[in-house]
Amino acid sequence: MCGIAGIINLAQEQPITPETLRRMVSVQQHRGPDESGAYIDDNIGLAHARLSIIDLSEGTQPIHNEDKSLWIIYNGEVFNYPEIRQELVSLGHKFYTSSDTEVILHLYEEKGINCLNELNGQFAFAIWNVNNKTLFLARDRVGILPLFYTIQNQRLYFASEIKAIFSNEEIPRALDLESLDQIFTFWTTLPGKTVFSNIKELPPAHFMLISPSGIKINRYWDMNFLNNKEIFSKKSDDLVDEISETLTDAVRIRLRADVPVGTYLSGGLDSSALTETVKKNFNNELRSFGIRFENKNYDEGSFQSEMVDYLGVSHSEIIIGNDDIGTNLEDVLWHTEKPLLRTGPIPLYLLSKLVNQSGYKVVLTGEGADEIFGGYDIFKEAKIRNFWAKDPESKLRPLLLARLYPYIFKNNRLNQTLIAFFKSGIENPDDPFFSHNIRWKNTGKIKNFFSENVKDSNRNYDSYSELMKLLPAEYFNWDTVTKAQFLESMIFLSNYLLSSQGDRVAMAHSLELRVPYLDHRVIELLGNVNSEIKINGLNEKYILKQVFKDRLPASILNRWKNPYRAPIHKALLNSTMSLVKEYCSEESLKKSGLFETTKVIKLINKLDKSDTASEFDEMALVGIISTQIIYKIFIENFQYQYTESDTFDQFFDYRSVNEKLRKACN
């Protein structure tokens, strides 16, 4: 994968310099350390930093078509490119590289924007049409790879990372207070928004056309679920076979690379299933990588070791201690470019470093299986509360929650009060956010820490209404679990899991993640499966377990699912309290003006004195510290490394000023 960046003039010609483009790729060089290239004419500048994975010798970008009327810069992988290429060759297209990049360009030449329907992969790209002066920007269906943009001074700037846009001094940098409201409700921003004012993200499954007649943004694919009448309502062997075959093929095409491909192996069902599929079908010499925690409450080591022995893979692991979390938080936020409410991205940031040091550029990971196959506890919680809502006075129905959250209900004395906590909203099961209201309401309490200024500014703003606008009409016909599945997929998947915990912390160490469970064929197939089959009773990911029932040990198939988490309280409030001193001092809180100092100090004092911490207090702690860090490193004191002497490995200069010079010389 790679980093892309560009600037297009929307009105009169404003000169775009190679230095500007060099800065924009240099600041995101971790995405593409191998090569760089650029194209400039009077209307546009396109730049690219390359991580070479397919066609190592010839794939330098930008790439053009036969008559150089189309130019592409591209970040990503299209896994079905050999098949598409064959078809294009038969239609007479000529290729000068064997890269997937060139295949996309010719497919666009052949089919226009409909090319997107044929691509199976993860990507963000820009295609410039010299003849009609139109720029085509597009992002993959699920939002695996990032693409940000902003419009300033009659120019549109775009890039894989926001820091590349900010490397232009004329771009104002400020935090968007409405986005903070969203993050402190949903754990991340809603699609399209970032935490920075006027910096937008092209949402997943969208494309953008920028032409002399204006700017258009459209959706080209839906992560949709069919109405109950049309779906598979019972488990059948045919269904399991079809899903098994599709998943195997999704893995097969994701092993296409001119470098070795490894896997992440946590010991959970998803990564175990994936690693088994690769090892048994495609690569007997497979390398896998995993995270261990010093703190036993977070560690899954026994399951990981079991799978390593069972499959006979060559496995490497890192062991994460509390200090690793605290000392790497600032670096991780430089990459995630948004505040966090949990520390899960940090171990993954350190894991990608290990993979990089092991000489690997690509790994397959299990992300997306929980969203697509129905794995999250919140789906089961919604199911139980829905069942309870039919008889709110029942004493037995809520006890199912104790089965779901044994670690919360471990103290029997508290059962009745815990049940009262989960009863909130039970009288309104038709509420569109029935499944998530408790979580969001609990998270939303962190907004009490906002300063009066932030509260005043957001007084008339409501994140829930904003979310309502994004729901498709069919949403209101779906059952509770399907609604919950959609909300997780729309809000959390791309904007947290695949970014803060995915691409961004992997690419920080030049590592490409590939996610077979998010092959659109798998998603579309599972979209046809009734939620009662996905979660059979309280047995999550039932269909996935059926696919692997004879292929994985029973202890892995039947194990209780633990959510992936990393330490917070003791990791951030360590003996030196350095993060608190630097980012939560009275002075730094006053400077950002985002949080009320007295409340933040009360929170820190409370946690500092205590050996344990509630989930809410931990979320508030990470949320406040990470927002303060984001403010410091992106707003107050934005600094990045740039070497003036850097040059592009490939540079196409079509500016008229140079044409004139060339003619004069001739």
């Binding site: 103290n411 009745q416 009262a420």
Partner: protein, 84 residues
């Protein structure tokens, strides 16, 4: 009423970090999300220590703990038992 002021102060300091406006006598801690699952443990530990009482398992029910008014009645009952 002094005992309930102490409870109110504890809740404002520990769960609302100084935000006083949110809590009235009958505000439901659980429904309003003021106290979450682990917060109950903090509240009960506070009541036991501050008022020198022992809360029995079967007393850990929302009817005793879900609002200031209910905690007040519960404390009245516990403290009068102690005197008796």
């Amino acid at each position: 009423m002094s005992q309930i002021n102490a409870v109110k102060e504890f809740i404002i300091e520990n769960f609302l970090f100084g935000e006083e406006e949110e809590i009235e006598l009958e505000t439901d801690f659980f429904d309003k999300g003021i106290i979450d699952s682990t917060g109950v443990i903090e509240l009960v530990s506070f009541l036991e220590e501050r008022f020198n009482i022992s809360v029995e398992d079967d007393e850990l029910i929302p009817e005793n703990l879900s609002s200031l008014k209910r905690v007040d009645s519960f404390l009245e009952k516990k403290l009068s038992q102690k005197v008796a």
